[in-house]
């Protein structure tokens, strides 16, 4: 079954590092946008060139942004209801909403849970006040804790926290403070992203004045975080993701396992029938009915390898054979040898995967292996 992604491009304010598509919250626009999403779910007119003859059955639904929580639980519920009416959603579906901890409360989660949401992802970023403020995130430790409690009370226990590595003024010690907090909350899923300065962001504009930990320090932080989390029973199942057993993000796994997904809303990306397509980063255009745009053909061997190597479970020769009807390319297996020798990869039976050291230079390794 496929994954379904819904993009909610609204935020209270733009975080200085973020380059996802978002616009300031505006009630009239939000209303029109939700109507457009519902229109699309009912008619499929913006995506029909790509989805013809495709089965609309989903076992994951993911509301991402932007900040889905800023539009309120009722609207999220209305959209999810419409989804259930028009598509087939499996009984055990993972249904996630990204939430900004500073804008949600008990009532929000009670509603969310009642609509059938069973997973939330919270953008905390850091447990250290000064770091969080430089990232434009407001909710402090106590607020995050109370939000987690609210969610749990409502019955939502599958909770993910986002943290960032390499943010301004971060040190090993301050990272430990954040990790301590993460472990205290006892959430089953953690995403840890290394800050990269993207064009068009506020950080990019003032990057010369940012005091960032150097590359070596960020690598050390990454290794340290991974070590502490794995010691506490987390599996480092993807380059930036850690989960207790059974709590991996099923939706995100679809991206990495080269499976199909439909993305609706401005800036949302899809992969169906071998084609990758997307909506422009423009909420007004989505509202006015602009159709999705072809991006590229997907699912080939190179893409498969690129994505699979992000996962700890890596690529097994057998799975590769099942998918492509041939063995792993000789250039791949030959070049992998050097990385195995240097400790960046492992070969276990017929399965190639990156070590933690390898994950840190995954771009380099993948571009070498596919050369």
């Amino acid at each position: 079954m496929k994954g379904l992604y819904i993009h909610i491009p609204f935020c209270r304010s733009k975080c200085p590092y973020c380059d996802f598509y978002s616009v300031p919250r505006n009630d009239a626009l939000i209303e029109k946008y939700c109507d457009a999403l519902i229109d699309e779910i009912e008619t499929g007119r913006r995506t029909k060139d790509f989805t013809e003859n495709s089965d609309m059955s989903f076992d994951t639904v993911y509301f991402g942004g932007g900040t889905p929580s800023v539009i309120g639980a009722e609207r999220l519920g209305r959209i999810l209801e419409c989804i259930r009416k028009n598509y087939t959603i499996s009984a055990d579906a993972e249904i996630t909403a990204e939430c900004n901890p500073s804008t949600v409360d008990d009532e929000f989660f009670i509603n969310l849970s009642s609509y059938g949401f069973n997973r939330i992802s919270l953008g905390m970023q850091s447990a250290v006040d000064s770091e969080r403020h430089s990232l434009g995130r407001l909710a402090d430790k106590n607020k995050v804790l109370s939000v987690i409690n609210s969610a749990r009370k409502s019955g939502i226990t599958n909770i993910s926290l986002d943290v960032m590595l390499g943010v301004p003024s971060q040190t090993m010690e301050s990272l430990d403070e954040t990790v301590d907090f993460l472990l205290d909350t006892d959430v089953p899923h953690i995403s840890a992203y290394m800050l990269s300065i993207e064009e068009g962001t506020n950080f990019h504009k003032r990057q010369d004045s940012l005091v960032l930990p150097d590359e070596d320090a960020v690598c050390d932080m990454y290794s340290h975080l991974a070590q502490r989390l794995t010691q506490q029973g987390f599996e480092h199942y993807e380059i930036s993701n850690f989960a207790k057993s059974g709590f991996e993000s099923r939706h995100n796994l679809k991206y990495w396992e080269c499976e199909e997904y439909l993305g609706l809303g401005a800036a949302a990306h899809s992969f169906i029938n071998g084609k990758r397509f997307f909506f422009e980063r423009n909420a007004e255009a989505f509202i006015s009915g602009d159709t999705a745009v072809f991006d590229s053909y997907g699912g080939d061997s190179e893409e498969f390898i690129m994505l699979a190597l992000r996962l700890k479970k890596g690529i097994s020769a057998q799975d590769y054979y099942k998918r492509f009807g041939c063995s792993l390319p000789l250039s791949f297996t030959e070049k992998a040898k050097a990385f195995i020798t240097s400790g960046h990869m492992t070969l276990d039976g017929d399965t190639y995967s990156l070590t933690q050291k390898g994950m840190l230079i995954s771009n380099y390794i993948i571009s070498n292996l596919e050369d």
């Binding site: 995403s191 990269s196 949302a268 997307f278 230079i361 771009n363 380099y364 390794i365």
Partner: protein
């Protein structure tokens, strides 16, 4: 109808680079209606793209202008000359084909190195000089001062020298009048055995080699059997004629005093080398014209295809270029580091750069080239003398008695305020000071003996940048001098990289080694392991740097389902890798080679 000899003028235009030679030629073509104005494109004689872009003339060209004055019709043969020291021999042959030369001097800059070098060349050939002061349209022009300089320095009466602007066309007609007035008409005996000087030869796909000649004595026509006196090669003449600006005009014959072309289904320009004498087999001349010499390459480097699969394509491209460039030499060579390629010989660094650029541009090849080398004479203990132009052939130092390197006689012209910096530069480049002359109040000539291998890297660039572009430079070779040479070897991750070795004076070895190590460190991207960069002389490491291991290169952030963006980033990375060369386990980008070629002055 034939023009009587007394109405023929054969002339060249000589000038320092950028003084307006090609532009003046354009105006003369326009003024004599040799080219209709609507067909005029800039620098029509410079028909290679590269020539137009660089503003230099690489090959010689010739064109016949018809000029009417006082009811008489004159045939003016303009023989264009290459304007760079690399092509000095070709310049000398073009001048030998003339009776006179227009000497252009820039009214804003005055006399420069090549102004004088070309003047001396012209005087060597007993040419009548027609001074012309150009660029009078520029605000900084000072024609009277320049005229005075020409009188003082060269000893030419410049009172009547036309003051022109080749750009606007102002007074250009006076140049034609002066040519007719000052340049003597050619002499020669139509009935004597043929002696024709080859001043250029160009390969044409349809006609074979087009041989450009000046007939000194005798007559040649289609059907004659022509003989090249230096090589002895014989061909049946297919066609003779004169040169219009953009086409050839066949004529019945070419006679003494005339300038024209011959075609004879000649396959390569090596069979009709510049400087050779054409005669006929039927009635051969007893002696060839003076001055023929086979030009030999002075600067060598290895040229390799970036992609080994392009070897054949590179070979074909070199063969094609050689059809038209007798001075270019190449032979196959193999490098442990670079694979299969060619050792190529050039007249100088500009010649080298031009060939490289033409290979890349006209033949679409991606190239890697090695550090240029000159020919060193290595005297072995056994008495044998090796001529080494390739560092990989450098013998075991223990077997060497002594070495010699080629020297040049160099002249630098500059405003006096830069004398100090120029002396510093020449000192750094192991020059021997010889002389300093004040040509005028604001022009100094410095003479040095400079080793050729100090000039071929970046001397000219360094000179220009240290003198804000005011100094000019000219050199000629003057034999060999004893020198203390060593070979530098580069080791990456412990493996010797033969293509990066080069020969250098021992005094410079340490400094150069340090710079190379630094440059390599900066230009070799981090890889998954640490890479030691070592520079060694005879097994002893004299400089060392380390390229640290790559630790972080990851797209940590999750771009939602935007897989294409991830893929594009990786594609870009792979593209970058394609421009790299593997040396054992180390990947080196082409920029690293280039960086070694252009070590900055500091």
């Amino acid at each position: 109808m034939r023009t009587p000899k007394k109405h023929i003028r054969n002339f060249s235009i000589i000038a320092h680079i950028d003084h307006g030679k090609s532009t003046l030629a354009d105006r003369l073509l326009e003024l004599t209606e040799t080219v209709a104005k609507r067909d005029m494109q800039q620098q029509i004689l410079d028909d290679m793209d590269l020539e137009r872009e660089r503003g230099i003339t690489i090959k010689a060209h010739a064109v016949t202008l018809t000029y009417k004055q006082d009811g008489e019709e004159y045939e003016l043969n303009l023989i264009d000359t290459p304007g760079h020291v690399d092509f000095n021999y070709e310049v000398s042959r073009s001048l030998a084909a003339c009776e006179g030369a227009v000497l252009i001097v820039d009214a804003t800059q005055g006399i420069e190195a090549q102004t004088l070098a070309n003047t001396y060349l012209a005087l060597d050939h007993d040419l009548e000089l027609v001074p012309v002061i150009n660029k009078i349209d520029l605000p900084a022009a000072d024609p009277e001062r320049v005229a005075a300089d020409i009188e003082d320095v060269i000893g030419l009466d410049s009172e009547e020298a036309p003051r022109v602007s080749a750009k606007t066309g102002e007074n250009v007609g006076d140049v034609l009048k002066q040519i007719v007035k000052l340049v003597p008409c050619p002499e020669g005996d139509d009935d004597a055995p043929l002696k024709a000087l080859v001043f250029d030869s160009v390969y044409d796909n349809y006609k074979g080699v087009i041989v450009y000649v000046r007939i000194m004595d005798g007559t040649i026509k289609a059907g004659d059997t022509m003989r090249m006196m230096a090589t002895g090669a014989q061909f049946t003449v297919v066609e003779v004629g004169k040169m219009a600006a953009t086409s050839l005009m066949p004529t019945k014959q070419l006679c003494a005093g005339e300038v024209g072309y011959i075609t004879a289904s000649i396959k390569t320009v090596r069979d009709a080398r510049v400087g050779d004498t054409v005669t006929t087999a039927e009635n051969p001349a007893a002696e060839p014209l003076e001055g023929y010499k086979k030009v030999n390459p002075m600067v060598f480097c290895g040229i390799y295809p970036a992609d080994g699969a392009d070897y054949e394509a590179l070979k074909e491209a070199l063969e094609k270029l050689q059809l038209n460039d007798a001075a270019l030499s190449f032979e196959p060579e193999t490098s442990g580091a670079l694979g299969f390629g060619f050792r190529c010989g050039f007249l100088g660094l500009l010649h080298l750069e031009i060939i490289q650029e033409r290979l890349e541009r006209e033949y679409n090849l991606d190239l890697v080239s090695t550090v240029p080398s000159v020919i060193y004479k290595i005297h072995m203990r056994g008495g044998e003398v090796l001529e080494i132009d390739n560092p990989t052939k450098y013998p075991d130092p223990a077997e060497i008695d002594y070495s010699e390197e080629p020297m040049t006689d160099a002249h630098i012209f500059s405003p006096p305020e830069f004398v100090g910096t120029i002396m510093d530069l020449c000192q750094e480049r192991r020059g021997f000071y010889k002389d300093m002359k004040y040509l005028s109040a604001d022009r100094v000539e410095l003479s040095y003996d400079l080793p050729l291998n100090e000039i071929i890297y970046d001397f000219f660039d360094a000179l220009k940048s240290r003198t804000k572009g005011y100094a000019s430079f000219d050199y000629e070779l003057k034999g060999y001098a004893r020198s203390n040479l060593v070979k530098l070897d580069v080791l990456l991750n412990g493996d010797g990289i033969d293509a990066l070795s080069f020969i250098i004076h021992s005094d410079k070895a340490y400094g150069r080694a340090r710079k190379i190590a630094e440059k390599l460190k900066d230009n070799i991207p981090r890889q998954q392991f640490e890479i030691p960069v070592q520079i060694a002389v005879g097994g002893k490491v004299i400089a060392r740097e380390t390229v640290k291991a790559l630790r972080k290169d990851v797209l940590a952030k999750c771009y939602g389902g935007d897989i294409t963006r991830k893929k594009k980033l990786l594609e870009k990375q792979k593209e970058g890798k394609k421009r790299m060369r593997s040396f054992g386990t180390v990947e080196v980008p082409q920029e690293a080679f280039m960086a070694i070629l252009k070590l900055d002055e500091q």
